[in-house]
Symmetry: C2
Subunit: 412 residues, 2 copies
């Protein structure tokens, strides 16, 4: 018996039968003796429709009014789920962001939660009511509606769980949990039972979009145990059917590598024969940052005579042409500089907190890829991650080989 | 130059081009030098969709959650219209019911406005911002969302106009104004330039659904001049293109009869041979009221021997079968009573404040109908209205004949 926060995304509340299904899941937790608060997204497709209305009027829209429009989607689902729960004899009420209130700053469209005045909410939940909270939305101190941006409902759920000091925050989604690798590529991939916040953050940053980075950061900061699980399978009966994201101290048996991830949304840019003078990197990356182009992996090499330098980095494929436009201008000021690019690359990463205490993890990666004849173009590492850039036609082969090499195959 | 409140209904904001059209009308009033507050309904069809969602979950729904769900429609249009105005270089912001706040009682689904704390709203409007207010919705003193029921946005608009002490409240709709008769039946019907609150109330009560009764009552109480006009014609240029609803003191030239109306949503019930004892009417109408059946015209006659009585009354056609069910039980306790009914009836009314000071108005009605061979089944009168129940096949003939007889035909 405890206090749970359950979060259901847009596909989980896409229509009335789906909402009834969610109500059944909530009813199951009530029967298990838990107090429950639920955070819901808008019905799948509704937010996109509302955004399209705004864009149809003006592609440069006032974010204050944009927020008022798009926040309405979550209002609908919170009311409907409350109705579906009441039909099952469960006391329930909806809570909009401004009713709790979930107070945010005034950065409309991607506001950050500043505080949750949870006294009334907590009283209601402790009184046995299911609180159905509209996710993704908040209110500024002066009473304007805000939205939290991409992944906002996950963040709402974790923040509510922290405010209510919930025992767990269950994020229901369309996957069964977090996997050792993408099951569409690696059929021997296994669902991970427990993973650390740090690993989840690294996974989010390399393209495994199960939980949004902000919600994991918040969960880590507030020490909220988060479970990722499927809303389309019966979760009742089995104790923890999904993947639990917790502090690393709560993970008894740590794997050296817990997952192999990949991202094809990568493009590589190389600047050759740059003059090797102080400030040349700033000259390159400053204008890219000004153009809101996110640069990821960066490596720099000196030429043998130490007078020229090569810089290679990656951007998303969507940003490549914009990046090349910016670099063309830069190259004009740096005579002799050549700009090369390729969009046929992929980033493959191995992630695991066990790396901190084990040596040879990167070496095993390089060796495994070499054995398959896969050339590594760029390498970057963090404390718990090694990423390599390879030709994207080798993506599946690389991920599968690494999955086997690190002992992650199920039954293996 | 003054302060105007403009209200646009669901068909006027049915899609983005319609909202752009509304923005143009608002821009026109701004150019005329007016300060403007706008009240909007939900996009046509949206409220019905939201109500359908609630009914799909449970046909007996909690009105608190129903209100949270359906109020979202007006939130969307208020934000979108603010965006469309901003595109035209006009400062504008949306106001939800809870933001103003428009405080109501807690009779969810048909709440009544108790107060509008208009200080912030007025300051914003006086500062030159167009206030775009979500109609139909309010908030209880303890912060729950309410809706005002049928015609609620009209009531919102009049209440906002009263709170802001606006010079006029313009209700944009899909008709050009109030007519002397339904133009679909009477092609010589004329648009009325000015009509009194009292006449509008009588017209609403007999089925001419241009403005909802509550909004007219409120306008009369608060002395708000209300104009009814079309949102699909250019109103700019002509001074008062619609119908102005005002106090009767503001109407210089009063017609004896200002309009002829009809309603086909009528059914007649006759109870024959009731025992003529005290309390028999209460015995009949009490259970009907308990069953939420609204009874309209009532006449009672004594039999020649003063021992039996006949009662005839009307209900809406939708309520007829329910009424007959209730009456069957009553008749069981009153031996000898016969229940007869007919749904082939229509109510035709003539309305005019001039009746108060003119005699012979009812007599002219009876004579006109008699000349056409139309039998009158029931008659009821008020101070400014005479209504008759006739066989519904004569409806058009009766309305046209009366329109001519009272000198209302245009060019006539």
């Amino acid at each position: 018996m405890g206090l749970l926060v359950l979060k259901f995304g847009g596909t989980s509340v896409a229509n009335i039968p789906a909402i009834e299904n969610v109500a059944n899941k909530v009813a199951g937790e009530i029967q298990n003796g838990h107090k429950v608060a639920v955070v819901v997204s808008a019905m799948a497709g509704v937010t996109n429709q509302l955004v399209a209305y705004c864009s149809e009027i003006n592609h440069v829209f006032d974010p204050l009014e944009y927020d008022a429009v798009v926040a309405s989607g979550e209002q609908v689902t919170s009311g409907l789920l409350a109705l579906a729960l009441q039909k099952r004899g469960i006391q329930a009420r909806s809570w909009m962001g401004w009713q709790v209130p979930i107070v945010t700053n005034d950065v409309h469209g991607k506001a950050r939660i500043q505080s949750i005045e949870s006294e009334a909410l907590k009283k209601s939940v402790m009184n046995g009511d299911v609180a159905v909270i509209a996710g993704f939305q908040g209110v500024t101190p002066d009473g304007r509606i805000t939205t939290l941006g991409r992944g906002g409902s996950d963040t709402s759920a974790v923040a509510v769980a922290a405010a209510l000091k919930a025992d767990r925050c269950d994020i229901y989604t369309d996957v069964h949990g977090v996997y050792t690798a993408d099951p569409r590529i690696v059929n021997r991939a296994r669902k991970i039972n427990k993973i650390s916040y740090e690993e989840m953050l690294e996974m989010a940053s390399v393209g495994a979009k199960v939980l949004h980075t902000r919600s994991v950061e918040l969960a880590m900061k507030e020490r909220v145990p988060v479970q990722v699980l499927s809303s389309f399978e019966s979760a009742l009966g089995s104790d923890l059917p999904g993947t639990l994201v917790v502090g690393e101290d709560a993970i008894v048996e740590q794997e050296v590598v817990s997952s192999v991830t990949y991202s094809r949304d990568e493009a590589k840019v190389t600047l050759r024969s740059l003059p090797d003078i102080p400030g040349v990197a700033a000259k390159v990356f400053g204008p890219l940052a000004d153009a809101s182009i996110n640069v990821d992996m960066i490596v720099q090499n000196l030429s043998p005579d130490h007078k020229k330098t090569d810089i290679t980095f990656t951007v998303t494929r969507a940003d490549l042409s914009k990046a090349l436009e910016v670099l063309k201008n830069i190259a004009r000021d740096l005579p002799g500089t050549l700009v090369e690019s390729s969009a046929d690359v992929a980033k493959v990463s191995v992630i695991g907190i066990g790396m901190r205490s084990h040596v040879g993890v990167a070496q095993k990666m390089f060796k495994t890829l070499a054995e398959k004849g896969i050339n590594i173009q760029v390498i970057t590492t963090s404390e718990i991650k090694v990423s390599v850039l390879i030709s994207d036609e080798y993506t599946e082969l690389a991920v599968r080989s690494l999955h086997t090499a690190y002992g992650l195959d199920h039954g293996g």
